[in-house]
Symmetry: C2
Subunit: 684 residues, 2 copies
Amino acid sequence: MSLSMKPSRPFRLPVLALLALTFAYSPAMAATVASVESPDKTLRVELDLDDGRIGYRVLREGKPLINTSRLGFLFQNAEQLQRDLAFTSQATRSFDETWEQPWGERRLTRNRYNELRTRFTEKINLKRDIDVVFRVFDDGIGFRYEFPDQPQFQDVRITEELTEFDVARPATAWWIPAGEWNRYEYLYNTTPLSEVGRAHTPMTIRTDDGVYVSFHEAALVDYAGMWLQRVEGRRLKAQLSPGSEGWKVRRTAPFHTPWRTLTISNRAGGLVESSLILNLNEPNALGDVSWVEPHKYLGIWWSLHLETQSWASGDKHGATTAETKRYIDFAAKHGFRGVLVEGWNPGWDGQWFANGWGFDFTKATPDFDIEELGRYAKDRGVHLIGHHETGCAVSHYERQLSDAFALYARNGVDAVKTGYVCDAGQIERQDVADGPVLREWHDGQWMSNHHLRVVKEAAKHRIAINAHEPIKDTGLRRTYPNWVSREGARGMEYNAWGNPGNPPEHETMLVFTRLLAGPMDFTPGVVSLKGRNGQVFHSTLAKQLAQYVVLYSPIQMAADLPEHYEQYPDAFHFIKDVPVDWEDTRVINGEPADFVTIARKQRGGDDWFVGAVTDEQARTLSLPLDFLDAGRRYEAQIYRDGEGADWKTNPHAFTVEKKQVRRGDTLSLWLAPGGGQAIRFRAL
Amino acid sequence: MSLSMKPSRPFRLPVLALLALTFAYSPAMAATVASVESPDKTLRVELDLDDGRIGYRVLREGKPLINTSRLGFLFQNAEQLQRDLAFTSQATRSFDETWEQPWGERRLTRNRYNELRTRFTEKINLKRDIDVVFRVFDDGIGFRYEFPDQPQFQDVRITEELTEFDVARPATAWWIPAGEWNRYEYLYNTTPLSEVGRAHTPMTIRTDDGVYVSFHEAALVDYAGMWLQRVEGRRLKAQLSPGSEGWKVRRTAPFHTPWRTLTISNRAGGLVESSLILNLNEPNALGDVSWVEPHKYLGIWWSLHLETQSWASGDKHGATTAETKRYIDFAAKHGFRGVLVEGWNPGWDGQWFANGWGFDFTKATPDFDIEELGRYAKDRGVHLIGHHETGCAVSHYERQLSDAFALYARNGVDAVKTGYVCDAGQIERQDVADGPVLREWHDGQWMSNHHLRVVKEAAKHRIAINAHEPIKDTGLRRTYPNWVSREGARGMEYNAWGNPGNPPEHETMLVFTRLLAGPMDFTPGVVSLKGRNGQVFHSTLAKQLAQYVVLYSPIQMAADLPEHYEQYPDAFHFIKDVPVDWEDTRVINGEPADFVTIARKQRGGDDWFVGAVTDEQARTLSLPLDFLDAGRRYEAQIYRDGEGADWKTNPHAFTVEKKQVRRGDTLSLWLAPGGGQAIRFRAL
């Protein structure tokens, strides 16, 4: 890049002319001021200053992965922070701790990194200090800005963050578009990185030399969510979700941004196995969270999407006392802890999603006796699961929050699914009752705060939260372990609504993109394989079982109707057996959009579970049983696609078989087109 | 596209199910509600409603050019306007008028179109009316939104315009990135359309079936400039330039947006010859503009970029009385009307571009006697050209505007170059003296208004404006004919600053992109071909002359130093002869980024002028002299690359020859690598 690419005005040119004479057009004009490596020295981050502008770059095994990329901010009420900076100081430290997750995809998590903390100071104008902190792990990096306490940062109004990620190599990218719709519910694109437009995170890429990188953020607190804008070439820029006032983020120093993260591996599975996002989050702030119980649940939900029942009142109303008891009975019989009920409260009649202001969360509809049902459930070891669909009238919801949770807590509800559906609009914020209504974005600063207000209020009532149409997961479940799951992608409901539903590759995409952020309430297990009007969707029966292992969530729904599970008892057996809390997780194989095999060990037990899924192609995958405990025998209970199974023509072809295996054996898993396989390794 | 791609909630599904039964999965679910064709019926625009959402599409010769694309708005203080719309009414009319430009690339301009005016009304919530108006010309389309006077539009605060342009075919795109820097000064990218990130307009494409389209806007008044964001595939979306408050545009109805324009042709040259942008602008509002005189000028400017002189005071100060007299003498001797002087006023010492608040526009530096120079120039038929570099302290500038223009008017200055350089920041707006300072974008709503305040105030003083680091040109020169030119792209100054300077293809790019918006003050004609430190830049001598014909502006600089023109008298002869105001313009041939040949007829005379330029490749171009007037003889005065000329090795090889020609003859123009040719056809 030539010196004159970013032209500067004459007063600088004598300096550049001097440098030109000195270095004779050498492109390496910037001076490296600091660097830090991963503990295993595979990754290296270098910071440089080029004409007063900070740049960082990332090398892997000595080769550029991210070329020098800029940092900085635009402000509404101050000069931009981007140039004329001097390097002031640095500090490094190393950290290595193993911590225990109260629930999760693994119990013990190692947090080991080298940290570089740097301070830069403006040489002109406001002479502000800004800190940039890098943590380099063996499996990736995170960096964030810290705004030190200074008079100039009394009221910081960020209009844009100027962070860039200039990818050094051509790459394939798996991504969904950002800034369009108020949800993350898109099918993923597979394109060259150079064809990305504007993307949500996680966005995952694989470079042409086989390095997998997933871009995301950790600890999104009191800040706007970050999109990735590709302006030209392979240079991505942060674009913050907009706000309703003249800024995207408003804070007072001292404060810090979320961590901008790159999870890096030479295997796709390495991205899944990484705990980088959680490790960058603050430890548990809630204290005892034994009341957060991972569980499986059923619900009056699928019928609503099939339209055989309705959210709205009337003779199709799903959320009635009698119908809920039927579900509770079924749950109790089969060992499911929870029953979700949607449509239980006033506000569903009419165009609820265009007018969330009609919802009342403090009482039930006349035909839903919540107290009776709370007792009925409790007597059977079941809990009702609550539902707070806001219709995006978020301030209206918040004003009822405490009473709403109290109502639930009184009636044995300790988990709530929230919703933010507003296809006709945006989030509606009203700071003062009867005051002006402002429109916010689902992932802007205001909503990042709203979600935490909900989670914290819920914790007071010992209630867990499962947010739909949410803000993206950035690992805050570590700090608030009652934030158990969320939607934030296309889940099972898309299969209810008819063609085309989710494509066969969907699960294989989610594992390497959406699920890198955290658990997803995908609501798997629709064994009937049919949506509305009897339309068959794009999966085999065996894949519906594999979903429970492949798509991690501490809460998992058996989403189909009870009567359908009764028609498929063999398949249902696996759903009843599969745990939702894990000691450990290993990705055996996998490629985004193609296939994946995951093995997980039950927490508090000795069994292992494996799930494998494929896209539209049949595959035979090798499963070396290296993960089984040495010296034990297991009965492999195999639930697989039957002979001739095919998502298009024969999705219900299904076989269950058993065999004894031990560590060191290898199984060969044949997956049908659009198929899967689920295995319980029952320790003997 | 499946019905369930944009999922809707249950209350709509019965309707969709019904449609599914009725149309059996036909993708053409939307109903066409209105359409309009071009006068020659080549272009057709169709409007449809799909589930209450408006879409428009464009066909050319019956084939899709723009697939159904959405329209709408997001607001800070109201629900979005995007769906649940019903078609209320339509009106069509035809228009055909020929009008005369007071100056321009042609004198007579035909404005012929068919107009479709439509009204849509929301069925729910606020029940707002919104009008969408299409004008279809033989060479393109323009459309805009009109917000009718309604209580709901009392205070409209737009946070995004949702206009889309879903290009139907693969295409090559020529574009510069938007939303990064506060200028348009980039080299153009040539990429597949699918690799565009976020682009400024004009953006030009050529589809795989040979249709050229340029995307732009017309009549950008009291609104934010539009960028084009490619989110995925070939679907472009409008993204408005941000504002400093909680919206991008704030207006009260009735008002209308700028016209979103597509200039369309089966020849690249057809884009250049089109007057669509001007035709969509309002007629001249200033009345008599005979005081706006197209002219050529010299200036104390190149020396500043060469650093042999300085803007700042001291012994290298360029803007002194003596030096300016030297330029005035040279201008008078060679028939140049204007002498630009930069650095004439206080504020240039120190870091001016980081602190525009130090500029004073109401008085000169002690060594610049503006009154003496005004008289000196007047006695010689020359005018000083003023310079108002704001350093982006725009409110500070505005507070001095009237006095600054009055000073100039008193001293014979009737043209001013303005500047908005602020590499260290953004536009600084301060509504109240000593009040808070907000940051604005160069092309946001506030700056769109600032520029018109300047132009209107200048008109009161009979002063023409040439804006550098401006907002993009959208044809407002029709309404305000004293807005004569602007920069808004990389001009000659990039060649002053050393390698790499502008590449050989640069002019051929500008003609088919930037220059489609309007005139550019490129400042051509640096016959020495050298920038700072004697570095040769990427052009032959003949191309420097061709620039005067190929890069249209009513004001053209002879940008080099007088002493350099004295070294190249033959080349200078053409510069002295070439007019800057035209009766007509024809593009003989050309392809973006490759080559172009343009012929123009002098206004008020009989001569024709031709300019041809090529990129890094040598070319032989055929020039059929069909444009010459029948029955006349002409002396072709040919200024061309000499034998062996080459921008890399032999840029000054140059030949002048003369021959008699007439209409019907054909000339063969050989252009060297990085070369050009300029011809005066002197009518005999």
